[in-house]
Symmetry: C2
Subunit: 378 residues, 2 copies
């Protein structure tokens, strides 16, 4: 490794700036401007990536099998898909084994382990994630130091159109949890929760509600690349501290800052994947606080359900307004979710089983949110 000298007066505050070049050259440009992704009139999409020396470039498109791209004589790799269903799709270019964003596309899919790009295949206004000609709510970004976890962290709060902090009215609240490797921005930046709620509220399909999107890690050290088989202590620590931070840090801040009802009948919790497991564990073990529970493709609950949900039985039906358990039929988590539902059935706990086409993908979760949120607080 070569050490370059960026500054002569090392460690002085302005050193690196002092020797900055006049107008540093921007990142070198491709020989031609690469247009990618290009969405065609028939909803097929052409992806392009300049990498003259790669031996293999694959397109990893959300919901599809990785597919090889073809190189032209200028070193531009490309692939045109069949027409795609209107939606947002995450994707990467995998060049000789390394997943990369599309450098021609500013639309990111933020993630703590694998930042990707997103492509929007536009569809009709009836799709809930399309920005509609309707009033828009706001997304508020909160920052605080967590005493429970010991880090600086954040959460997001959606307030619906017309929300007035000075009015007397109070709103029901949905706590909406992201999945493993997402950050707190996942449900807005990728899940489009604010757009979905704007549309459903305008159409009368969902009640006006506040949506709180906290950071889902009680043990942030779990967010490392590699196999997902966490030691059971780490998994438990992650859940326990998440739950404790939610109850003692996030909820008090939300209830202090916004006009949210504190009635359990006006409080829901739902999430995807790891956040689905957190929703089930937090919700079903705290029925004094939540009447509405949703799990989208949940993963991370052991099969020792009696230990995960001690004492849960048919008496819960008096308190649970909806227990919604959804999973895509092509998701390997479908079996654990079926087992969870079978156990609930054996205990006489009413639940709404939802199986839809699809894998472990945001296209499933956006639809889950649109459907689940429409049931809430009625």
């Amino acid at each position: 490794m070569k050490r370059i000298l960026l500054a002569s007066s090392l460690l002085l505050l302005l050193a690196a700036i002092g020797l900055a070049q006049p107008q540093p050259a921007p990142a070198a440009q491709p020989p031609a401007v690469i247009s990618s992704p290009e969405v065609h009139a028939d909803n097929s999409v052409t992806f392009r990536f300049l990498d003259p020396n790669a031996h293999e470039v694959m397109l990893a498109l959300e919901g599809a099998k990785p597919a090889p791209m073809q190189k032209d004589d200028q070193g531009i790799w490309s692939l045109t898909t069949a027409p795609l269903a209107p939606d947002f799709y995450g994707y990467s270019f995998v060049a000789d084994g390394v997943g990369l964003i599309d450098p021609s596309n500013p639309l990111m899919k933020p993630n703590l382990l694998h930042t990707q790009s997103q492509v929007h295949v536009p569809g009709p206004a009836s799709l809930p994630w399309e920005v509609g000609d309707v009033p828009h709510g706001l997304v508020h970004h909160h920052f605080y130091k967590s005493g429970v976890v010991g880090d600086e962290r954040d959460f997001y709060v959606y307030t619906p159109p017309g929300y007035d902090p000075k009015a007397k009215r109070s709103y029901p609240v949905l706590y909406l949890l992201h999945g493993f490797s997402d950050d707190a921005s996942g449900w807005t930046a990728v899940g489009r929760a604010n757009v979905i709620l704007d549309n459903l509220i305008a159409q009368g399909k969902a009640k006006a509600m506040i949506v709180v999107m906290p950071l889902g890690y009680g043990a942030p050290e779990i967010v490392v690349p590699g196999p997902r088989a966490f030691a059971s202590e780490l998994r438990k620590k992650n859940y326990d501290r998440f739950s404790q931070a939610l109850f003692t840090e996030v909820m008090p801040q939300v209830e202090g800052a916004y006009r949210v009802s504190k009635d359990r009948n006006s409080r829901a919790i739902a999430g995807l994947s790891m956040g689905g497991a957190e929703s089930l564990l937090t919700g079903l073990n705290n029925l004094d606080k939540f009447a509405w529970v949703g799990a989208f493709s949940s993963g991370g609950i052991t099969e020792d359900f009696d230990a995960e949900f001690p004492g849960l039985d048919a008496k819960a039906n008096e308190k649970l307004r909806v227990l919604w358990i959804a999973c895509g039929t092509d998701d390997r988590l479908i079996e654990p979710n079926r087992k969870m539902r079978a156990w609930l059935d054996s205990k006489g706990v009413h639940n709404t089983p939802i199986e839809t086409p699809g894998g472990h993908v945001w296209m499933v979760w956006r639809r889950n949110l649109a459907e689940f949120s429409g049931l809430l607080f009625r």
Copy 2:
């Protein structure tokens, strides 16, 4: 180009999802986990990038000349810098001419033309961009349809710690504008404006204020790769519509939703690069609305200053509380900024000339914000 079939029932809503693979493979992993960037105890930084077949990989680090990385026998390119001054640095890997983010690093530097990565070289709490053990304000994300420009767009609003929408107190407001190719998130995601204000307010170095960060494009079609020499009509359209959207759309929303003073003595406008030019044009041509104007490395004003600022003369001194014109001495925009100041001097318009080390980089602009915001509303 090969067309792959992603879905058999094309254009049906769930088609792409229906054929999704069970647990689609994530983007293929590098052979080993690559750690990048690695900040060492002496503030040197090692960058690593796996690209076994590239012929050349350069590190494009903000404020430094692009530097070649060295490849090891596993195909990992790396470079260790000299110790760097504590700061946040944008960077890309330029592999055979293509600028790429660091796939091992989730910290993005969002940009509409060249998304990059960022590395944080931590420093003492006295640096205003370090998250301090102080109360934190909020960042509110607004969405609206612009009648002036005709697009769906957004803006961000920082409210300081302790801001209470129900209290009677009103706050002064700084309109803070990003540069060319940034989006409306630039001043928070890269400029750390919320962190800087949190710290300065806690230390009594800045007044508690609201900061509004609008999208700076009146003509979004200017945001395309290539030379920055816009036709004068397009430049004028971009400025005119930006200004019109600010006055007729953003300011009314802000003044309706937040407790901000409408007194010109409590209203400032500042920005960087393109946003610096917009601040000068908008501020100096509307002294009935702004008493505080700041330009950080401004670029985009023609040298026909009499035409850019019709009628501006020493009478402006009665209204201008601060006119702050800053530029890095290694920025090629230093000369246009000196010419602008010379013209102001020739007209007898008082201004505060600030020249600091550095190029056209965020390290300069964070310091500009910290210094300028401390002068405001006193």
